[in-house]
Amino acid sequence: MDKSAAIVTESLVKDFKGFRAVDNVDLTVRRGTIHALIGPNGARKTTCFNLITKFLQPTSGRIYLNGEDITRLAPASVARLGLVRSFQISATFPHLTLLENVRIALQRQLGTSFHFWRSETSLDALNARAIEILHDVGLGGSENLVAAELPYGRKRVLEIATTLALEPEVMLLDEPMAGMGREDIGRISQLIRKAAKSRTVLMVEHNLSVVADLSDTITVLARGRVIAEGPYAAVSQNPQVIEAYMGTTDTESGAALRGAHG
Amino acid sequence: MRLKALALAAAAAALTATPALAQYTDGGIKIGVMNDQSGLYADLSGQGSVWAARRAIADYCKTTKCHDKIEVVFADHQNKPDVGSTTVRQWFDVDNVDVVVDVPTSSVALAVHNIVREKNKVMLNSGAASSDLTGKACSPNTVHWTYDTWALANGTGNAIVKTGGDTWFFLTADYAFGHALERDTAAVVEKSGGKVVGKVRHPFPGQDFSSFLLQAQQSKAKIIGLANAGGDTTNSIKQAAEFGIVQGGQKLAGLLVFITDVHALSLQTAQGLILTEAWYWDQTDANRAFSADFEKANKGNKPTMVQAGVYSAVYHYLKAVHELKADGDGAAVVAKMKSMPTEDALFGKGQIRADGRKIHDMYLFEVKAPKESKGAWDYYKLRATIPAAEAFRPMDQGDCPLVKK
């Protein structure tokens, strides 16, 4: 096993009621890189995500984070080790303000999260840091808005801000660009690039031009198996990959693949 | 010196004068009927008891000039002690109720009983079974009118053994009330020369009794004593009929069965059941006349012994209050009630003992077979009369602190 890797999975398998969703996936995400996980619809990319972050328990196989075996840990414990994920649909706390959203992430460090007798004003000490983070991602000045009132693209930004507040070593982004307009895509790409400077990023993404643009390494999944891995240029030439994409009705991805290629 | 004598005389005059003036609290007599208006005991007490209380007032005021403001209020205690105690506190503290009547369900009766004593009011209990009300928990403010567990156990246990039912198997509801009924009856059975061959304690409330009945059947006891109440009793009787227990030669003895239960079961199912009651509608002309009026006002039902007891108790209470011309001091009213012999159309002549127990005859009935019945509600045939002197627990055995040994 590669000790220098941030995440390693060994023969990861997940069975659902007799059918194999994820089949012997070996994945190595090197530290400090942006690694993309792509594949046509039904490739079980999100399932892999859920397995790595322990939201699902693998049927067999091993998962390592910085060489440490995390196969048996609870999802919250994995997060505490610095492996933090986002979700396919935007995952904010809709009825909390932007400030409170970010503060939830910061709050854990205080160690007072079980203190039901302490006033919440004790959390005000975190406000400066939270506002700073919001500012960094371009949400400065709107910290008192309620998250539900933000437009969709901004919610994703808020979600990334919340994730960044934990200063995770490894970020797992599940389709950060899903449902984005062109303008938002640019902004979030920038944000990811900036965030990735000091950490490792593993992302699932359908938008192949974003993948091509951002990622160092790409792993292609189809039907729960790895069919190719390497830099974008190599992977996009791989006949198996092209067939996997073309063979599906997923014309959008197919077109995207061609488009990015050409 | 003269001054002091004068003052004494005045005080004495005031003391004797007080009862002479009519001293009705709040300018009248307010009777609170508290019972189950909606639950399991609604038919045997409920609105029927309210009707009986009103009827007692009407009947009493027909013959005697009575106070012109006598009011009846009622409440549903839902068989919950806390509901009963809240209501009764409010009755006394806010609504100026003078006397609480009926109160079936022993747990509620005991709760109300304590508050009545604390507030020095009166409780005339007809509906509750617990013999503790005139035993170790007895109070100078309570009269227990119609029946109690001891009387039922004694009537059913003793009389059945005497008529040949000398081996018993108990089907007991597994809670304090069931245990008490079983214990009292078993003692009577053994004292009269019978034998208890077995018992089974079923959970309360139960639904299916077939398993327990099968055990009773296998015990070969002549009598199966049902030490339970309400739905448990009707379910056990119904299922006993289904399993052919009575046809098989065994008899069921209900230790707490009311005529409304028999009605609910139908004669087909309940025939042969033996039970003890204090009053039955078809015994005398007065009873029948009362029942005919009752039936018209109460969905075609005949009165139970509990409702008849409410009538009788309220009647006697009014007598005592009018004699005293005061209703404020509950203990004094009850003392007066005890000092006067009781007499009314339904229960005839009787008396109230020092421990608060009203004494009268009790009756052992057997439920008729369908072909023996001559019409609606013709359910019982008399097997034995238990004379008043033997029907209730002797005063010296009750551990009532009011009784000097």
């Binding site: - | 399991l40 079923h202 289904e242 079961l265 087909q268």
Partner: protein, 293 residues
Amino acid sequence: MFELIGVPPQALFGQLLLGLINGAFYALLSLGLAVIFGMLNVINFAHGAQYMMGAFGAWMMLTYLGIPYWGALLLVPIVIGALGILLERLFLARLYHLDHLYGLLLTFGLALIFEGLFRRQYGSSGLPYTNPIPGGTNLGFMFLPWYRGWVIIVSIVVCLATWFMIEKTKLGSYLRAATENPTLVRAFGINVPRMMTLTYGFGVGLAALAGVLAAPIYSVNPIMGSNLIIVVFAVVVIGGMGSIMGSILTGFGLGIIEGLTKVFYPEASNTVIFVIMAIVLMIRPAGLFGTPR
């Protein structure tokens, strides 16, 4: 003759058989709950009240219309089931877009209304209902009333037929698919709301059928359902909510276990189901036949 822990084997056979018969009621009722829960994701708190209405329905048909037991057995489930359909259309259907807990709260309210109305009208002492098949046969180890035998046959047939319909037929496969993914099934041109309505009606009909079956042997009174429903809830939790076979097997199984408890430790026979439930939940939080979620 040898005895098993103080109980002769014949007696034990008898008790096992009686347990199985009680289990028949549990199975029928929990089956109805499971069907409704599986499809609508609603815990039907009114199930006990609907069972009670089934028993009252049989009594009313006999008393007011002169329809005997056998007619009631067929008609009452249809009538009460139709009432269920009405309830679903009027009330439940408005709540599907909300948290499932609202369904539970609504049916709880409905249960209170039904129970209150029947108490108002018929009092609580209960009503007589004559056993349509009196008599029985001596099996050697016990006297088996014909009626109890009838109950167990009806229950097993109905349970198996329901299971077959849901697990093995095309209609059932639509039902199951609709639970998983209503949008997809709708895309196939199937009227999902109507399917949900009919499912609720069917589940309620099962409760009413159990009520008719119960009328000749249990006291017909307004609280007969609320006493039973909590036990049936426990059966459903043990079996695994929404699992059809789970609810049937657990229903019969717990009937037998309860029957045995009545012999060896009668005082605990009401509690035993809840004890089993606690143990099952600690080992398998999703119930014996449930899938974890």
